[in-house]
């Protein structure tokens, strides 16, 4: 019995020695582009995972070749060298009107922000050095004019992702116009001068734009050495804030003291709770017919008062609105009023749906 136990211990030790070599994990090397590890796929192992080694030698001929039209339909990115810029043109003045109609509701007049969504204009590049190390200090201003390195990013993003609630609804002429308006309001030069109302942005003069913060980023990812520059950047941990010293005793830390929470952020949904109880019963009744359409089309602006639109649940604001009478309110919603575009910017909504939505919003604000 004793002998037997002895043997099994010896066996365990042997297994442990082997395991640290290669039985339980493939080789790890610190040679990744990001300064981290890569793992070989060797002897049926990938790190700690078993793998089917047959797979790595295969070339699987799946899928089909896209047609020329399919490629044209999806390959719509716009690059800094002008690749992908569409035909078309638009003036600053046209852009002004389109911006008011489609963009101001979220980004504020002239892109000045203030309603919770990104501020697009204003500020100075020198503000990027601002560090709010004490309360009341100015923040860095990260706008198109002070921060964005390429104008191609702007026109590409407007075409693919804006307006927020109805992306891809603008024509090529319209995206040139809105881009021209935003460049002008950021005082960014086209053809060597800041554009006036009548000036037109097109595929050709687009390439004369040099964004003010073009050189504000590192490592340099352009050109033949772009990827190697990234590798070099991550090779030095000091560049990205990594520490390599593991101090265990009497560690010094620049007179660090305890900083406690000043004003606690408590605005969380649902509220904090770790209780294990049965949930409160929901009130019964059918869902209001306008609820879903409201959430899809209107909640973006009407959920909170941050946008200046009467927010659902705000009795005072809605009492004021409803003084105009149901028919007038519905009519305003259909035609648009103030900063609100017709039908909240979704022409697909029927008048009957708008009426349901207004009824839902007002009846939930009593």
């Amino acid at each position: 019995m004793f002998k037997c136990v002895h043997k099994s211990i010896a066996l365990t030790v042997a297994t442990l020695v082997l395991s640290s070599v290669s039985i339980f994990a493939s080789e790890a090397k610190k040679d990744a582009i990001d300064g981290g590890m890569t793992y070989t796929r060797d002897k049926g192992m990938y790190s700690n995972y078993h793998i089917n080694s047959q797979v790595d030698a295969l070339k699987l001929n799946y899928g089909r070749t896209p047609t020329a039209n399919e490629l044209k339909a999806w390959d719509t990115d716009i690059m800094p060298d002008g690749t992908g810029l569409p035909e078309g043109e638009g003036s600053v003045e046209e852009g002004d009107e389109l911006y008011e109609e489609n963009c101001a509701v979220c980004h504020g007049d002239f892109g000045a922000g203030g309603v919770g969504y990104p501020t697009l204009t204003g500020g100075d590049i020198s503000s990027l050095k601002n560090q709010r190390t004490a309360p009341g200090m100015d923040a860095p201003k990260r706008t198109i004019g002070t921060y964005w390195p390429q104008a191609s990013t702007l026109i590409w993003y407007i075409r693919d992702a804006m307006p927020y609630a109805h992306p891809k609804s603008l024509t090529d002429n319209e995206i040139y116009a809105i881009t021209a308006f935003l460049l002008a309001n950021n005082e960014i030069e086209v053809d060597g001068k800041v554009q006036e109302d009548a000036d037109v942005l097109n595929k050709k003069n687009f390439m004369t734009i040099k964004m003010p913060n073009r050189d504000g980023f590192y490592p340099d990812v352009n050109g033949e050495n772009g990827v190697e520059n990234v590798r070099k950047f991550f090779a030095d941990p000091k560049n990205f804030g990594a520490n390599t010293v593991r101090c265990m005793k009497d560690c010094k830390d620049d007179n660090a003291t305890v900083m406690r929470i000043g004003i606690e952020m408590k605005d969380v949904v649902p509220g904090y709770s770790t209780e294990r109880d049965l949930p409160a019963k929901k009130k019964g009744g059918a869902t209001h017919p306008g609820k879903e359409a409201y959430e899809k089309n209107c909640a973006v602006c009407h959920k909170t008062d941050a946008m200046g639109a009467p927010d659902v649940g705000n009795k005072k604001a809605w009492a004021k609105v409803m003084k105009k009478g149901m028919d007038n309110v519905v009519n305003n919603a259909i035609k648009g009023t103030g900063a609100m575009p017709p039908k909240g910017g979704n022409p697909d909504l029927t008048d009957a749906q708008i009426k349901e939505i207004v009824d839902y919003m007002s009846s939930n604000s009593k």
Binding site: M37, G223, M265, V268
Partner: protein, 447 residues
């Protein structure tokens, strides 16, 4: 017998309701024993034995669930958590959104309830830029083109035809903890570090798909673009695509959740979750980076020099103590109790090598044990047994080290290099202040 049992369960329900009014457990038992002298004594399990004040009501009496027929087993064809777990949910805050709009916002994983290293699919943190897209899998197409000899279009069935692999990786938004560069703001582990989750992903190695396409060696970069309203896109070095990148269509054994990019998402293990493009539409290979909106105007780390770090891919070594934490504190402990300190460590640059704990705000450290699986670019659990002393205050911190040799920086060390306006990639040491009564608060050690 049957009749008696029924009576007892009804009585018990009345008593449970009344117990809510009572102030302490001990008080409840005492009162319950007196109250039940007639009605309950007759119906308790041990009847006619006289009850003692120390007897636990929950043991002495039959429970409702033991005396009634349960639900039909397939009442919920897709299972749901126990109704008692309804507070274990993702949470949002208007601070991490645009004006309270929850289409471009983030929800955070309840790390205080997280067990093990696998996040349940319903609790996986979610960040979207234009709401959650719902793609019809039958109409789903992925295009791979650009500087390749053979561009292709794949359907979902095509992608599933490739040999699959399953790997466990965390996914973290580089904004995790972004609200706290200037100091602590949230008293909650969920909001301090919950912009991350960890799951077992299943899909195909991107390298396996690309093997047949003839990617031009000059194509150093790959564009990944999504199909949602924001067409979320990013530029990735081809080298990563050829290393451990995957096209994933499943998480924790089932199809991706819509919030996570159903039906197909790009997975770049260890890198910014934002690079792991959801609702993947196309991959294009080229010689120059694309300058996408989410790699210029956002997801760039502005430093005190006024210049910003771009293409900041890996999530650096990091850790957080999840027990105790502000949500799950030590108020329930008695003086002298042994208690387990546990938490999660992770690194986008390799495996976790070690985790140290400090009880004095970072002056002295002891090594904790790692437990469970230790895998590359995956959550790793750590554990340390501590003797709780009532009346003692502690500044409890964890500090992880990874296989690549990187150690989590202190708040001051990180501040020195990045400043306080970087927004992204905050991985400095987190500290909980344990108060005399066992309460736990989020603090920072900094000058």
């Amino acid at each position: 017998m049957n009749k008696m049992t029924k009576t007892s369960s009804t009585d018990m329900n009345i008593m449970v309701e009344q117990s809510v009014e009572m102030t302490s457990r001990r008080d409840f038992f005492r009162k319950a024993a007196v109250y039940s002298a007639s009605a309950v004594v007759a119906s308790n399990v041990l009847s006619p034995v006289e009850l003692l004040a120390a007897d636990d009501e929950n043991i002495i009496h039959h429970q409702k669930w033991g005396t009634t027929l349960g639900d039909e087993l397939n009442k919920n064809p897709y299972g749901v958590p126990s109704p008692y777990e309804h507070n274990n949910v993702r949470r949002t805050t208007s601070l991490l959104s645009s004006a309270g709009d929850m289409h471009a916002a983030v929800s955070l994983t309840p790390l205080h309830e997280q067990q093990g290293i696998i996040t349940p699919n319903g609790l996986f943190f979610t960040r979207t830029h234009n709401g959650v897209a719902h793609i019809d899998p039958n109409k789903y197409r992925l295009m791979i083109h650009g500087l390749v000899e053979k561009p292709i279009v794949l359907t979902l069935d095509d992608i599933k035809k490739y040999p699959s692999e399953s790997v466990i990786h965390f996914l973290e938004c580089p904004s995790n903890g972004a609200a706290e560069w200037k100091g602590p703001q949230f008293n909650s582990v969920q909001f301090v570090k919950g912009m991350m989750s960890c799951t077992e992903w299943t899909g195909v190695r991107l390298k396996t798909v690309l093997a047949d396409l003839g990617v031009d060696p000059k194509a150093k970069w790959m564009l990944a673009e999504g199909q949602d309203g924001s067409e979320m896109s990013r530029t990735v070095p081809t080298e990563k695509a050829m290393d451990d990148a995957m096209l994933v269509y499943a998480m924790n054994g089932e199809a991706l959740r819509a919030e996570q990019g159903y039906p197909v998402r790009l997975l770049l293990p260890g890198w910014e979750a934002n690079l792991c493009v959801k609702w993947l539409k196309r991959l294009e290979f080229g010689t120059e980076p694309w300058y996408c909106k989410e790699e210029t105007s956002k997801y760039t780390t502005l430093t005190a020099s006024g210049k910003a770090i771009q293409h900041f891919y890996p999530l650096e070594v990091n850790s957080i103590i999840t027990s105790p934490c502000p949500e799950k504190n030590w108020e329930f402990l008695e003086d002298g109790d042994m208690v387990e300190i546990q938490g999660l460590a992770w690194s986008g640059q390799g495996k976790i090598k070690a985790v140290d704990l400090s009880f004095d705000g970072g002056k002295n450290w002891v090594e904790a044990s790692l437990k469970g699986l230790v895998l590359p670019k995956a959550w790793t659990r750590f554990s340390y047994m501590h003797k709780f002393k009532e009346g003692e205050t502690l500044l409890l911190s964890s500090r992880a080290m990874d296989e690549a040799g990187y150690v989590q920086p202190t708040v001051n060390q990180e501040k020195k290099i990045i400043g306080v306006e970087g927004v992204y990639h905050r991985n400095s040491i987190c500290t909980w202040e344990i108060m005399k009564n066992g309460e736990v608060n989020n603090v920072q050690m900094r000058s």
